[in-house]
Assembly symmetry: C2
Homo-oligomer: 601 residues x 2
Amino acid sequence: MTNIISRRDIDFLLYEFLDVEKLCERDYFSEHDKDIFSPMLDTAEQIANDHFVTCAESGDKNMAELIDGKVEMAEGSKAAMDNLCEAGFIAASLDNEYGGLQLPSTVSNACMSFFQAANVGLCGLPMLTIGVANLINVYGDEEQKTNFLPRLLTGHFYGTMCLSEPHAGSALTDIRTKAEKQDDGNYSISGNKMWITGGEHELNDNIVHLVLAKIPGGPAGVKGISLFIVPRYRLNEDGSIGEDNDVALAGLNHKMGQRITPNCLLNFGENKQCTGYLVGEPHRGLEYMFHMMNEARIAVGLAAACCGYAGYLYSLDYARERTQGRAPDNKDPNNKMIPIIQHSDVKRMLLAQKAYSEGSLALCLYASSLVDDEKTHPDASAREDAHLLLDLLIPVVKAWPSEWCLEANKHAIQILGGYGYTQDYPVERLYRDNRLNMIHEGTNGIHGIDLLGRKVLINDGKGLKLFIAEIDKTIADASNEESLAEYVTSLIESKDIVIKTTEALVAAVAASGSNVFLANSSTYFDMFSNLVIAWLWLKQADVATKSMTNAYEADQSFYHGKIQACQYFFRFDLPKIKTQAELLCSLDTTCLDMPEEAFAC
Amino acid sequence: MTNIISRRDIDFLLYEFLDVEKLCERDYFSEHDKDIFSPMLDTAEQIANDHFVTCAESGDKNMAELIDGKVEMAEGSKAAMDNLCEAGFIAASLDNEYGGLQLPSTVSNACMSFFQAANVGLCGLPMLTIGVANLINVYGDEEQKTNFLPRLLTGHFYGTMCLSEPHAGSALTDIRTKAEKQDDGNYSISGNKMWITGGEHELNDNIVHLVLAKIPGGPAGVKGISLFIVPRYRLNEDGSIGEDNDVALAGLNHKMGQRITPNCLLNFGENKQCTGYLVGEPHRGLEYMFHMMNEARIAVGLAAACCGYAGYLYSLDYARERTQGRAPDNKDPNNKMIPIIQHSDVKRMLLAQKAYSEGSLALCLYASSLVDDEKTHPDASAREDAHLLLDLLIPVVKAWPSEWCLEANKHAIQILGGYGYTQDYPVERLYRDNRLNMIHEGTNGIHGIDLLGRKVLINDGKGLKLFIAEIDKTIADASNEESLAEYVTSLIESKDIVIKTTEALVAAVAASGSNVFLANSSTYFDMFSNLVIAWLWLKQADVATKSMTNAYEADQSFYHGKIQACQYFFRFDLPKIKTQAELLCSLDTTCLDMPEEAFAC
């Protein structure tokens, strides 16, 4: 099997770092235990290797294309998706009632990591289908659930999210798609939707589009947006596939990466024959969508983490095999060349990849455990806390992996040198695939604004306080380990910096207004994320240190690697927090003040 | 015309920043003046627009392929190259004697910047041809010069550099290609060479390969490497094209970017019929090659700078046109959407691109002016100083633009959002094209080792002293401008940090050996480069400030932009120098100590 994600690391994160078995004490998960989780993980790894890895390269070279009026995907795509669905990975985290397996999100996302690492482009389909199923499960009416949920969960239908329009990407306020009420109570949908992953294909029976649209006469802006289920084919009374619902493919986007799955421009209702079914109440569409968005954003963070992880492991294997040059203190050309993993600068690029990709995976699975907590924690206030903490962290979960695991992929190419720049090795594809993750589900810039402008402020900063309390717990635990003292001290110092900087910025809103407050939100994001990732690394290093003593030799190496990656992050990355905080506290207006006409003549 | 490089900026750099007209006072350049430079620049911009921009996209989509036994390049490639050659841009900086125009390198590289920005992949051909012509001009014998130089300068022959082999990329010590002396005094060449840009094509009459090979019985390692001219077709006595010289195309590399020009694996002497002509003396090949390498490395830095620059200007235009969202303090959806250039975070991404790409262009043209000085300065010690300073800076010139203008290209994609990720816009191609520049002409990691391990040490650190003296000049000049006081102070502080860190590291060699000394050479590179780029930005801001008072309105905006970009670099990037220095002074061994087996299990 190709080593795309370290199974040892997955087990470490699930059972040692997050103690996922404890979830089985809760009613909702009471039918599960490690004996169920482990075979699920085995199956995911196996299917990922047998079916997802195998069509990743061909899917990149033969991107989805319109052939004889049908969108054709690369050979193997259908078999891969069928296997994933049949093994229950769409249904994994959904309620039993409509066919779900009621697995913890933490575990289902750990399973998903193998598919993401194997073929991130194809994973757009399950990601969106799970999201659509989740949303219908929570907000749909009984008829909608009965009609769509079971077939989404078995993969007979796939889902899409139709938010953006050609002129409105980040700013949904300005969407123009219309939903006009008909005599039968349903709506006639008309408008153009852009960037629709899986918007048309022939892999299965039907496609369920979730469409944001405005009902004429509603409030202006986001408060007038409603949400509709718009199937590609209508359903007959008996639930069988009925006639075409007037959703037309207007074009395919030819992307830099993630090319295996079609990305579409769709025209709804060109012939005024497109029926949409309102979800919940009118004008509350964005609220529903955003409620489910946290999980979609974890999926994007996870996708980025897994692209980074797959590149890390590939370049690691390469570095162990490829010989080149000699050590600085032993350059005699009569000596043998050494494997490049022995060069310190190659180790640097491997350690950076390890710190970023394993750190990102830890972040995404931790966030998934918050999803489990907000849904199933026996204590109501703990559920609310988990929700608040997740809300605070979600910009980091989505955006940090997409930035730094892209950097990891850059390093993977560099380790392979010229070979890494060719299509004969997967690392350049991973780099291209991963570049999308900074853009979709909210650009990283938007997440910076969301973090500083909304998330740290809600409930008088309660999310931030909860986060600090989590850090303090880790500090208390790690303080018992003398070998971690350096990191404990750094984390305390960094935490204080972030708190003080946040206070300084919040105080500035009153004095200087929101434009100045938000002018450097990306730098705030960088500073805040540094703290989050450092915390997760200390937490991992603490678990590793405590487990080291009684571990077998191979496990000792594994734990040693965790501790060294923690050291790398604390020494090479975390210190940036100081200069970032200085810039923020100065309320710098370099960017804000730049006159448009001064950019270039 | 497409705005790919700001002509105003080129004029600023040449005439205001580097005062290139002063060079015309030297004998070597006495036939030139601004009235010759400016039309050359006009012509370059025109040809770049008419012929290089136009085949950039098609050359990317239809990469060089073997068709019926011949390597075919995209339509338009030949016309583009013919135009470039006929207008004299290969001959530009070479001596009159063999048909050169004897232009300053500073000016010829400024001309080249338009071609690089328009179509960096195709520019591999002129870059290498200029390099080969330069080398033959300096080290070739009369017969070699007569046979090859005039036809290289007119573009009837193109050149290649054949250094790497499949098993030996960075470590030329270990090349295996053999050169066996024949009775006629020439050599029989046999071996495989990898990554040969322009290694085979049908654009013109002949290809002149410069090949590194070992003469059996010579010293081991790099001291046994000799340099040979190996034409694709031999020349008859009368100079006409003769028979095939047994250089066989063994394969084409399919790259992530720079796809228009073929990149080849070549087999030399499969039939023992490959003749090579020794350049200079045996066993001195690497020395010759490295003597010319500085100019090749400026070309790579320039290529990276221009990819960054083209992406910057494209995303700038886009940001001015595209409307989306509203300002944080004015979010009423009934108001009009604003052009995204008005969002502070978009300005940040534009300013970063401006700081990196204009900073890189300034760096490359400054380095070119050192080439002019080492060759033509009337004072012998000034020539030597220029040579030393260039030697010191060349790792930065090659590697910094390739890292940070790639980052610029990442920002350009981000500004275009989903659109930037599609092949309908050039920014994703620029990102892919630019990724090569971190790898070829020495990987960036190797340049970090070269900088710290060799360049700062040669002649007892004289190069470093010369560099510090240049910084001090700029500090003295800028100290007269009150508005620059902040940057003057920062630059003094940063300079002192770099000096002290360098001293601490050099002292450590004795104590801890070269492995520890070089363990964090990439971080040393980052720190040192930060100082170089900050210095060049202050130098630009100083010129801009001094010219501001009497400038027209449009020029005032231009100068304002330079000063704001300086501010951006000093506030957002330069401060990193402090944490980089701390890590270096601690002689950190995180990377060095990482055991191989601890990376992943």
